[in-house]
């Protein structure tokens, strides 16, 4: 048993992969001596030097573009996008260039790079530093999207991402950087497209991505006092999505709540809920409930901000209703 923080887990993953493969380098704003605002990459520049831990000007489209070109010609860059909100700045390079190069070239070019960024509200950072934009990139064919839900997943998924031959966007929850989890000393990888069943149950399935996994686990604790049997699933990667595990659970329990911190409209909860509705319809004993972030820009005031994200109490309340055959939404 070795408890380390999510931040340390990410740092270890990068260091291990940089030791294994000299074509891996890290590029972004203040990734070297400063170690990023969250101090995630601290110490890497001492080991690997400024040639492989590259501080850039504040030019997200520029250094993202550089990473695409470097990846296309044999490097494996890890791009640090300081806040997930800044993904909007790199959209052309990520979605028009990186995501499409392999396809448009008929398989001749490929772009093995990782965009490391974050998501998550309730850090009192207001609307431009709090968004969870993973649904946005999940919509683009050619990109893979990983959503670690603890230090263990953060390390295993990032190592897999760095070794993947495609562009991968990995979202860490910025509120979880100091959360500790048991992370093995020995090397391990977590394959993409394999969801984790964190708790087995037969009355209701809670599907939670990233930190919403913890919300689901808390909700399950509340529900266990009421003798409601809960199954918890963490998809771990959105693209590729482990549809089989999700559908099997939906068929077993007949009741599903999908919890995700992206906006609810046209979001990850909508995608997962619709796949269940399409492919496990006849097993459903209740509507699939979506619980995403409220469809408002993230407000600053703590009182308001806390209203916008799904909470364990709300998840438990909805689970209680659907298990009892009560309506969550009016007929």
């Amino acid at each position: 048993m070795r408890l380390i923080t999510l931040s340390q887990a990410v740092n270890e993953a990068i260091a291990e992969e940089m030791r294994l493969d000299s074509s891996v380098f890290l590029i972004g704003e203040d990734v070297a001596e400063a170690g990023t605002p969250f101090k995630i990459t601290s110490g890497l520049v001492e080991e690997f030097g400024t040639e492989r831990v590259i501080d850039t000007p504040i030019s997200e489209p520029g250094f993202m573009g550089l990473a695409v070109g470097a990846a296309m010609t044999g490097s494996r860059p890890i791009v640090d996008i300081m806040f997930g909100d800044f993904l909007f700045l790199i959209m052309d390079q990520l979605c028009n260039q990186a995501a499409k190069a392999h396809y448009m070239s008929g398989g001749k070019l490929n772009v093995p790079l990782v965009v490391r960024t974050n998501l998550g509200a309730t850090r009192r950072s207001a609307a431009q530093h709090s968004q969870s934009l993973h649904a946005l990139v999940s919509h683009i064919p050619g990109l893979k999207v990983a959503m670690p839900s603890s230090a263990y997943e953060a390390k295993g998924l990032l190592k897999t991402a760095i070794r993947d031959d495609n562009p991968v966007v990995i979202f860490e929850d910025k509120l979880m950087y100091q959360d500790k989890a048991d992370v093995p000393e020995d090397e391990y990888l977590i394959p993409f497209g394999e969801a984790a069943v964190l708790q087995e149950g037969n009355q209701v399935t809670l599907i939670g991505t990233s930190s919403m996994r913890q919300v689901c686990e808390e909700a399950a604790l509340i529900l266990s006092d009421e003798k409601i049997s809960v199954e918890i699933i963490d998809p771990r990667t959105l693209v590729p999505l482990d549809e089989k595990t999700i559908l099997n659970s939906a068929k077993k329990t007949g009741r599903v709540i999908v919890v995700d911190e992206g906006h609810q409209n046209f979001g990850v909860t909508a995608e997962i809920a619709s796949r269940i509705s399409e492919k496990a319809f006849y097993y459903l004993d209740a509507p699939v409930i979506r619980m995403g972030a409220m469809d408002v820009p993230v407000p600053f005031s703590p009182v308001l901000e806390d209203l916008t994200v799904p909470t364990a109490e709300k998840v438990a309340s909805n689970a209680r209703k659907i298990v009892a055959g009560e309506l969550v939404h009016e007929l």
Partner: protein
């Protein structure tokens, strides 16, 4: 000494042939489009041949280029085969991208062409990133980033030139200034002198007559050698002209440029004619010999088109192939 002249003569004739090859390719492509045999749309390089050929003849196969929506010339100049290019234009399986890219996305990585790009200015990051990779790995190749005057209005250029200058990357920014940003005169969209924009980052910048392939090649040869030694980046503005409209369907264009202007460039500043006249005056080749070169290449282009027209389309099972690369 005699051997040197001989070598140079070969190189001059190669440049002539390459320019003719681009012109023949574009003539055939234009005809395919007008005959409605080609899906989509395309942008003709005719008139700008000396830019692509002058620069690419200064590069080795290992050197990289990034190209633009007006990219057929770069592709031919960097060594691509006409058959595979026509196949790509027609969406055929044997195309450079198995028919998935089309005119605006031909990539030929075996010759160092990292691909045309349908986003104006979209490849500036890629070119600079390729140069960053070369520097990090200690590779000796140089990357040339082709873009038009219109693309100088994109912010990405200034972000990547800043980093290229900070880190002395082996990249050459080649601005093909054909005077028009789509359907608008460049004077109306570009403030100040384009060269000053590069100079603001401390990047050495040159202006050259883009219709004079020998002048372009001489400058490029010098800058490529210096970039290889770590003296980059460099910026070149090449003054040139496109004979066709912005795209093939842009026929009615007198509202942004006059027919007289077009005639003047075609008659007096044609890059193929300029080099041809010089080759004859220097007695490197006769008019008849040049005619034979032109006829042979036109015939080659014709054969390539016929081949592509008859080539097969991709199998429908290719539609979801190459979205992701299988990681081994």
């Amino acid at each position: 000494m005699a051997k040197k002249i001989n070598t140079n003569s070969e190189s001059y004739l190669k440049m002539y042939s390459q320019m003719v090859k681009i012109r023949s390719f574009e003539d055939q492509a234009n005809q395919l489009y007008l005959d409605a045999k080609m899906p989509g749309l395309t942008h003709m390089y005719s008139g700008e041949e000396a830019v692509a050929v002058g620069i690419c003849e200064a590069l080795t196969v290992k050197d990289k280029i990034t190209s633009t929506h007006r990219g057929h010339g770069h592709c031919v100049a960097k060594g691509a085969e006409l058959k595979q290019m026509f196949c790509e234009l027609l969406g055929k399986e044997e195309g450079y991208c198995r028919g998935k890219g089309g005119s605006m996305h031909i990539a030929d990585q075996s010759n160092g062409n990292l691909g045309a790009n349908a986003i104006v200015g979209g490849s500036m990051g890629i070119a600079t990133g390729s140069a960053l990779r070369a520097k990090l790995n200690g590779d000796s190749d140089v990357t040339v980033c082709f873009f038009g005057d219109g693309a100088t209005a994109q912010g990405l250029l200034y972000e990547v030139m800043n980093m290229a200058a900070l880190w002395n990357l082996p990249v050459i920014y080649a601005c093909e200034n054909n005077g028009y940003s789509e359907y608008t005169a460049t004077d109306e969209i570009a403030a100040g002198d384009i060269l000053d924009r590069a100079r603001a980052f401390g990047i050495e910048a040159h202006k050259v007559d883009g219709q004079d392939v020998l002048a372009v090649n001489k400058l490029a040869t010098d800058l490529v050698a210096r970039a290889r030694k770590g003296e980059g980046p460099f910026f070149i503005e090449l003054i040139t002209y496109r004979y066709h409209g912005h795209h093939v369907g842009d026929i009615n264009r007198t509202y942004y440029r006059s027919k007289e202007e077009e005639e003047d460039w075609k008659k007096n500043k044609d890059p193929i004619k300029i080099l041809g006249d010089w080759l004859v005056s220097e007695k490197i080749a006769s008019d008849d010999e040049l005619q034979i070169i032109r006829d042979d290449i036109a015939a080659e282009a014709h054969v390539a088109v016929q081949y592509a027209l008859e080539a097969s389309y991709p199998n429908s099972n290719e539609v979801d192939m190459h979205v992701y690369m299988e990681t081994t």
